[in-house]
């Protein structure tokens, strides 16, 4: 079983706190720090391999890689970007954080600002939040009704299929934390003035809707999982295991593409540099 298969959601997928706490890729049990150092080392090695593979992807100028990160506040989307993709050459790789839509964005369909940012040939693009917010926060607060939500699932499936059919590899990660872990992380932010800039009182408001969010995630993921756009549920109470799982799946996928540098041009060997 590949690591990707191990974390791909199934039809029985449920968002339950117990699943957020798992340390599924547990390293040598005799580590005094709970395996953190070993996780980090393994992740760094994978991050470097991802960086090398991205270089070939870039050179090939053919395939496109889209990574989607979703999760509750404090689930570690920024930390994943840094830990898993921090070694990647900024040339050819890009992160896009989608915040509340601007007025101009609201004047368009919800996929408009997303489509503008999808990767081009040879590019890796990481979405920190995405069009999935348009079936999550909007659903939880009942800005859209159930019928509209279902229409959007179908639209998202169609959109992602089109992207896949036109050469985009899509990997979607649900960073799954438990309610208790979010509490601890929010308290940590509140306790440290240097982390206040990351804090938004709105986070506490959204936290009140915890159960509704869990339900919305469960439904959205099940409705939009597909072989060409799979969802991976990543236990994320442990930050180091989270990064290790995601790095493993990305590296595995890139390896499976059997990327090669484009063939050399035989004519070039005849060229002289004056």
């Amino acid at each position: 079983m590949t690591i990707a298969e191990q974390f791909r959601i199934t039809k029985e997928f449920q968002v339950k706190d117990a699943n957020a706490k798992k340390k599924p890729l547990g390293t040598a049990g005799d580590d005094k720090d709970g395996g953190k150092a070993a996780d980090k080392l393994a992740t760094l090695k994978l991050a470097e391999e991802i960086s090398d593979l991205q270089n070939v992807l870039y050179a090939g100028h053919e395939r496109k890689l889209l990574i989607i990160l979703q999760g509750m506040d404090t689930s570690g989307k920024d930390g994943t970007v840094k830990g898993v993709f921090g070694q990647i050459n900024p040339l050819g790789a890009r992160t896009v954080a989608f915040k509340a839509p601007s007025n101009d964005e609201k004047n368009h369909d919800y996929l408009w600002r997303i489509h503008k940012e999808v990767p081009g040939k040879g590019e890796v693009t990481i979405f920190n939040r995405s069009h999935y917010e348009d079936v999550l926060i909007t659903r939880v607060h009942e800005w859209i009704d159930q019928a509209e939500c279902k229409r959007r699932y179908a639209q998202i499936r169609d959109f992602e299929r089109m992207l896949a059919e036109t050469g985009t590899v899509i990997l979607k990660f649900f960073l799954h934390i438990s309610k208790a872990e979010q509490k601890a992380r929010l308290e940590e932010r509140l306790a440290d003035p240097e982390k206040h800039w990351k804090f938004d009182t709105q986070d506490l408001v959204e936290r009140k809707y915890w159960d509704a969010y869990q339900e919305a995630y469960e439904e959205a993921l099940l409705a939009t999982d597909a072989d060409h756009a799979p969802w991976y549920a990543v236990p994320s109470d442990s930050k180091t295991q989270r990064n290790l799982v995601i790095a493993s799946i990305v590296q595995e996928k890139l390896l499976s593409l059997k990327l090669k540098y484009p063939p050399g041009n035989p004519e070039y060997s005849k060229l002289k540099v004056e």
Copy 2:
């Protein structure tokens, strides 16, 4: 004398091969590899510091940093991005490579596509080539005449002053290689089929205009150097010294900004996470 002062161009600035070959930040002379390993280690340390400083810049959401990289083909613009900015968090940092303008871009003034990509608050943006191509390649091939070129120098000065006045720190690097070094690097690319994708026969055409380019660079840099948008001439025949010089100047500049995390919100200490 700061490192920045050491490399800032003066009124006597000349583009001469001899200047490209210097190893001005030479490390311990007893290194058997010409100091390469020591250069790399020092650069990595600086790159990590730059990454930490960028995090504070991002948190502060106030200052903007624009890095412009210019230089002849093979001068190492991509290598600089990877070596100096490879440790930076992709969140809040972006590289933009400007190629030959598209039809839509040609329908606008030459600063239009540039302005769209300048950093926002808290952002670091690295330009791999820039609006300077519009006074270099265009001048060398006489697509614009001397009067138009001078008009553009003034427009560029005005544009960059506006960016600086609205909170952008600008650092401009001329990656200076000698003609012999370019020959060696082009031959290396031609010899290795895995590097053919980086090669363009147009590179050999441009190389024939070497002297005209040197003249155009000299004039453009002198015409657009300013305290708020300084040009640094970086000897770049040595890749490791090039990265070390650029990393030093960027780190020095970021330190000088005395960036601080935004003040904590005293109200936050009263908040309870339920």
